[in-house]
């Protein structure tokens, strides 16, 4: 086969391959991994995180503003320390509160950020003090049954 024809085919092949990779990167995947430098980390402590997992979204008013970067157990306070990586474009007041929510009845868990009223903004390595733990279904049912039993008990 002629050398130039061969070169042409291989060139087309490489272009098609790179095009496929670009298609995967742009159309299929989201380049959503927030890059270091364009985000800041804040730590929130929870009594119980339920089924929260790393990379779960952090939402405020329903909009994704960041992701859960890290979850670890604090052996001194016996709490879960959750690191939230929030996009630099979104600044939150210092007294914002974080709650673990569930999308739908059995959907994935995410962190809901509720903005507070402080004039100072959260910065890198800050802590969110106002937190609300995940609702554990078993506890909820247990409380409900306990309450019902109390109601029905003879006075």
């Amino acid at each position: 086969m002629n050398r130039t024809v061969l070169d042409l085919w291989v060139g087309l092949f490489v272009i098609a391959g790179i095009g496929a990779l670009l298609f995967l990167a742009l159309k299929v995947g989201s380049m959503s991994t927030v890059k270091a430098g364009s985000s800041y980390d804040v730590v929130a402590r929870f009594d119980n995180i339920g089924g929260l997992k790393p990379r779960a979204p952090v939402k405020s008013a329903g909009v994704v503003v960041g992701r859960v970067a890290d979850i670890r157990f604090d052996n001194e306070t016996y709490e879960a320390a959750v690191t939230l990586r929030i996009d630099k474009r979104y600044a939150f007041p210092k007294d914002s509160s974080a709650a673990i929510m569930t999308s739908g009845l059995l959907g994935e868990q995410y962190i809901g950020l509720e903005a507070g009223g402080d004039e100072h903004k959260l910065e890198d390595k800050d802590r969110i003090t106002l937190t609300q733990s995940a609702v554990v279904l078993e506890n909820l049912i247990g409380q409900f049954i306990y309450g019902k039993a109390q109601e029905g008990a003879p006075q």
Binding site: L6, V10, L12, F13, G29, S32, R55
Partner: protein, 262 residues
Amino acid sequence: MPRRWIEGLGRRTIEGVWRIGFAARFFGVMLLHSGTAFQRLGLTIREMYFSGVLSLTIILVSGLFVGMVLGLQGYDTLQRFGSESALGTLVALSLVRELGPVLAGLMFASRAGSAITAEIGLMKATEQLSAMEMMAVDPIARVVAPRFWAGVISMPLLAALFSAMGILGGYLVGVRLIGVDEGTFWSQMQGSVDFTQDILNGVVKSVVFGVAITTIALFEGYDAPPTAEGVSGATTRTVVTSSLVVLALDFVLTAFMFRGTN
């Protein structure tokens, strides 16, 4: 009787170890001579035409059909749970993470790997390799290294094309034929496929498979007994061994890449 049996076992073990050692040395020498593959880029491009461009038909067609089947089967299963909206996620994640690299690897092994083995085995049988050595041309640098790098470069491109075609197939069946909402299909997909986690790991997998398949194919060809039977046996071994190696490596890589993430 048991003595002869034990002797046979010992001989086979020694031969196996010797072959592994020979393959490792072959791999090392091939890497050492890789410079020529890039100095004389024409050789590598020529081999990319034979192992990459000529594999395109089978890769594109099988990718499209795998994606279409995934769309049909995935829809059938997902709609039982009322979550047809996750079809895009299912198709994209299974293709990008697993099926793309693995199936493209298997296709590549049977389409290009067998051809490489047969070609080199025949070159050896007709003493072309010895003739090169007589002319002070190193056959590893002139014949083997360009084929190796051509395979290593082609494999991730083929795997990406396979995944892209598969997603297109899933889209055709899921959205066009069955009628899953187009916006949900793409946005659910984009929401759950991560670039570094899923796509780059898939590319890494396909590069590893490319290295494994071409090395096995080249070694089997280079090591083939110089007879018609020898070459045919080596070609068969290439396809069997490299398919098994691809599947085993895939398990190991998956265990490393996706353990602990959801």
